[in-house]
């Protein structure tokens, strides 16, 4: 029995070591010759400050958009009855079946027609709605008892007031899940910003890092320093929210 436990721990430790190895190598290489100075140099070699601000701006505004559009749509889909509701919901869901690369080229053409290529609008507006978030929130709204709604209305609460003061405060956990998924998604998004922006002013972190990788391909210390500070914000977020995040991933995975 005892030796079983030891074997189990040994195997898991070995696995954990393999998983961590690239991160450890990244950090140790980033500190070779010059130490912390490598970080300063990487940061100043190309405008990483601008890339960070762009990513923060895009992530933040996208998230606000997603939260607003999702709560409103989920509220309607989950608690109201009206003709065409299920057909509209199906229209939303059907878009989830189509992966992004499939409609990337026509999206570009549409953005070009709108004159949005190489603007913040192109980076943000198309992602201010997220069907999966609507789906998650709708499922949750459906579980709220109807009597709660009726009681609130009797107390003089308006339809919107119920969403704002009753339904949303009762959905904190789902909202947290939606926020985490969307922040991770926007922060790590690569293909879309690569396609729809060209100028350095609008470059987001992932695209900036990939160009930096091409330009400095032999400058490992700087590359590893840049990789480290690029993943640091999400790493911190993950460590702070990991319990909720892991649970969200496993739940939404099995539910879907």
């Amino acid at each position: 029995m005892k030796s079983r436990q030891i074997l189990r721990q040994a195997l898991l430790l070995f696995g954990g070591f393999i998983m961590l190895m690239p991160f450890l190598w990244m950090i140790s290489t980033s500190l070779e010759q010059g130490g912390i100075q490598n970080y300063v140099e990487a940061w100043n070699r190309v405008p990483f400050g601008t890339y960070f601000l762009n990513t923060l701006l895009v992530t933040g505004l996208t998230l606000i958009g997603v939260l607003i559009t999702s709560s409103l749509a989920a509220y309607s889909f989950g608690t109201m009855e009206y003709p065409g509701r299920d057909k509209l919901f199906l229209l939303f869901l059907s878009t989830m079946m189509v992966p992004q690369p499939v409609y990337l080229a026509p999206s570009y053409v549409i953005l070009a027609k709108l004159g949005w290529i190489d603007t913040y609008l192109a980076l943000i507006v198309p992602w201010t709605t997220n069907v999966f978030s609507i789906f998650l929130l709708r499922q949750h709204f459906k579980t709220l008892p109807k009597s709660l709604y009726e009681a609130a209305r009797l107390d003089g609460c308006s339809r919107f007031g119920y969403l704002w003061r009753v339904a949303l405060p009762l959905s904190k956990s789902v909202i947290a899940t939606i926020m985490l998924f969307n922040v991770i998604g926007s922060w790590n998004s690569f293909m879309w910003p690569l396609v729809v922006t060209h100028s350095e002013k609008l470059r987001v972190l992932q695209v900036g890092l990939s160009y930096f990788n091409q330009e400095q391909s032999s400058n490992y210390q700087l590359l590893m320093a840049a990789s480290t500070f690029s993943i640091l914000p999400l790493l911190i977020l993950f460590l702070l929210a990991q319990k909720h995040l892991v649970a969200s991933y496993s739940r939404s995975g099995l539910k879907d």
């Binding site: 690239p22 009206y82 079946m97 026509p106």
Partner: protein, 314 residues
């Protein structure tokens, strides 16, 4: 007032609906339409029937990207099931440090594909990279990794005097390197899914198996595996769908032009990307999109069908 509350439900949907229609539905439909059109840098030149598809079916580079993608999926998916399954079995139940292990395994999942690619490019560097460093310290020969166009079967069988060619040469070592990174990145997610699946299996089943004298392997074979099958199936389909869409790893680790040494890491989404944005050959790229969509749709339908059955099962 009456009238106002009748349209209210639609008003609540409106903001989301506008975005969905403008940036999902219309581009998706446009993708189908453009696949039947001659649409390039100069704009729309009229419909051309199936000629984009004809071109696709006779394009050797396209088929090369399909076979690379299939190799990629066949390599990544089984490893991405087997390793997480073993890890989840080890993590199951009471265990010291369980939360820490889970955190460590999950770390690559939330790390951006670009940063991961930059780091692994360095690890795989043929000249000074740490992986070759370890191999040489152990007395082995350094490998070219991401720059090696030779198939891995070809490389393994060459010392024995066999020289397989074409598909029999196997995926290039460059592509295998990408597979390693892809598996590493997805282990944590799949482990968490398996762990949730395992912890849903009621203990009583194991007690019954124990009473029947099933033994460790027997209870895995007759209890764990069948009761875990919905999760296994879900992981199988989801990782297949995700692997079909690999892009960032290929783009960053084996950068354009080309798609790796001799085009051996040119996967379907990378090829589609090149056609659409380097050549601005929207018509042809759309035909490839539609092909990709049909493959993925087929997989999704299978998942839904079998997924529905499993509801009755539990």
């Amino acid at each position: 007032m009456r009238n106002g509350s009748k349209i209210a439900p639609y008003l609540y949907i409106l903001p989301a609906l506008i975005i969905v229609i403008c940036f999902r539905t219309i581009p998706i439909l446009a993708s189908f339409t453009a696949s039947f059109a001659d649409y390039d840098i100069g704009g729309f030149h009229g419909f051309v029937g199936f000629s984009n598809y004809e071109r696709m079916f006779t394009d050797a580079r396209f088929w090369n990207s399909v076979s690379n993608t299939v190799f990629f999926v066949l390599g990544v998916v089984p490893a991405g099931i087997l390793i997480p399954l073993v890890l989840a079995m080890l993590l199951r139940g009471d265990l010291k440090g369980k939360a820490i292990y889970r955190t460590i395994y999950f770390l690559p999942v939330v790390t951006s594909a670009v940063a991961v690619s930059v780091v692994w490019t360095w690890l795989f560097k043929p000249e000074a990279g740490p992986i070759n460093g370890v191999i040489m310290a152990l007395g082995g020969d350094p490998l070219m990794w991401l720059r090696e166009p030779r198939g891995i079967f070809e490389m393994m069988l060459a010392p024995l005097g066999f020289h397989p060619t074409g598909v029999f040469a196997g995926p290039s070592l460059a592509l295998v390197s990408l597979m390693i990174v892809s598996v590493w990145k997805s282990i944590g997610y799949n482990t968490v899914l398996f762990l949730a699946g395992l912890e849903n299996i009621p203990k009583t089943y194991y007690e019954a198996a124990d009473l029947d004298g099933a033994g460790k392997w027997g209870s895995f074979r007759h209890v764990t595996w069948p009761l875990l099958s919905p999760t296994t199936f879900y992981v199988l389909i989801m990782s297949t769908i995700a692997s079909f869409q690999t892009f960032a790893l290929v783009y960053v680790m084996t950068p354009p032009p080309g798609g790796g040494p001799l085009g051996t890491t040119n996967v379907i989404v990378f090829y589609l990307f090149q056609k659409a944005f380097d050549r601005f050959d929207i018509g042809y790229a759309s035909a490839i999109s539609v092909f990709l969509f049909i493959v993925l749709l087929g997989l999704t339908i299978i998942q839904r069908r079998v997924g529905e059955k499993r509801v009755h099962y539990s």
